[in-house]
Subunit: 292 residues, 2 copies
């Protein structure tokens, strides 16, 4: 192991000489300050595990407004204090939360939200992926989010990429209230337009993806002794200003993002011999970072 | 949590009434014995971790013959006794092994194998995916493997889907010898045709995917105390007959597989409202099971 294997060396080549073809990371590092957009503190949900791990979720009020309003009401009401992660299914999801039979809803929760599985395409400023998508007529990016859409039918949906956060529900027409959430620990595009996606994990997903898998059907933990305790879930806007985490994403309408997208589809740095000439929506990974 | 959330309930509906649209699992359960193909014991590599976990890998000699011959020679020579998993990068790979500077190669190892990144398309009996692929002109299945291919250029490659096992290497033109291997714990299709894929994990991948992530660049563990010790890696053909695990896969040319593929792209069971009408190659998951 004393030979450094450079599989995936994109993270190491920031200092590569200027003549070499840029890596995606080179492009992100060179993006001007004006190409970054701050995520509002009221759209950041911070889950602290009792183990000390932290998971930060960006909420998407423009895509699932009623569900996101519910989730914000639950976070503001400290609803999830003492909740647990009770399901981790390999190559699928990590799921946590409480529901009304565990604890009554606080004020401001809509018990039966509408099926916010898509939203109107109109009003979104889209950067097209530029490659085919298996799950929708088109794929692309809007406001920093990976989305799928139909220009003809006029809908758009947040894509179930790695890290997507969705609302657990029973069989349709139930849509889930928002008290029980999951994070996709694999791309799950077949769930697109069948579940309310309310956000994505932007930091700390390894605190979910590396948890032991549940051994019961669908990855539920066998008994309560295995549940992973959550210390608290809060909105960043409800935390003392000095403690608030702050993040920004690369504007998906910026020249930097467009260059990043081209290079993601055409890797030519030293490790690669044959660029693909294409890329899956979920393999693009919109750059998100802590605010410097 | 006393409400059973059925997200991903495909595993539970084997007993659904006959009138309902079948789930993928229904089709697999109904496949006749003749639709299953036994995996040869000489193509099964069994990695036992000191923790007790087992990871079973199916090797693909038809796709990377020299690399697979190396790997078999290393396994037969007990080369990896005392090796470790030393790198786990989130949403990327788990990597293990030794190289020649750790321990001399046993007899039968080709130190500089050719770049077995593709093989001739000719000779493969292919079931097409039937949907677009972002990384190659075509995608489909051959001998139970997910593959990408070009009918025009005449090549085919094993696709980097979840569980794919590839050969760690330095910058090209190095191709890696086979002493250091990784398992993809995410789909990594951008690596297709840039690395020798030698097989896939068919059982126990959660023993890799749930390991703690390394905190160094590229997910390397910070120090040796964190390395995950491997007890031994053997071929099933080298194990006493009574101890050998045995697996079979659903013949990708069978009617059952074709029906399974159609349903994977068009989920209509109770949970789903809008079938996608398409599916990614890596979201099909060729059924593999322990031999009954």
């Amino acid at each position: 192991m004393n030979r450094l294997l450079i599989l995936g060396a994109l993270l190491l080549v920031g200092a590569a000489p200027a003549k070499k073809p840029p890596t995606p990371t080179d492009i992100v590092n060179a993006a001007p300050a004006g190409a970054w957009r701050t995520i509002p503190a009221d759209d950041l949900m911070v889950m602290d595990l009792k183990s000390g791990g932290r998971v930060v979720i960006q909420l998407a009020p423009r895509f699932a407004p009623v569900h996101v309003a519910n989730i914000k009401a639950l976070a503001r009401g400290n609803y999830w204090d003492g909740a647990t992660i009770y399901r981790v299914q390999d190559n699928y999801v990590a799921q946590w939360g409480l529901n009304e039979s565990d604890k009554p809803w606080p004020a401001g929760v809509t018990p039966k939200p509408p099926a916010e599985y898509t939203r109107p395409l109109k009003g979104l400023l889209i950067t097209p992926l530029g490659h085919d998508d298996s799950y929708a007529p088109r794929a692309g990016f809007a406001d920093g989010w990976p989305i799928a859409y139909s220009p003809k039918a006029g809908w758009a949906n947040l894509a179930h990429c790695y890290g997507a956060v969705g609302v657990g529900r029973d069989l349709s027409p139930d849509t889930g209230t928002g008290g029980e959430l999951y994070a996709a620990i694999a791309p799950l595009r077949h769930l697109d337009r069948n579940i309310a996606v309310v956000g994505r994990v932007i930091d700390g997903i390894a605190n979910l993806s590396s948890l032991p898998r549940g051994t019961e059907a669908l990855g539920f933990y066998k008994d309560k002794s295995l549940y992973v305790p959550i210390a608290r879930i809060r909105l960043a806007s409800g935390m003392p200003e000095g403690d608030r985490p702050a993040y920004e994403y690369l504007d998906t309408r910026s020249e930097s993002f467009r260059a990043y997208l081209r290079v993601r589809a055409n890797r030519k740095d030293d490790f690669y011999i044959r660029p693909a000439g294409g890329v899956d929506l979920c393999n693009v990974n919109v750059p998100v970072r802590k605010k410097p």
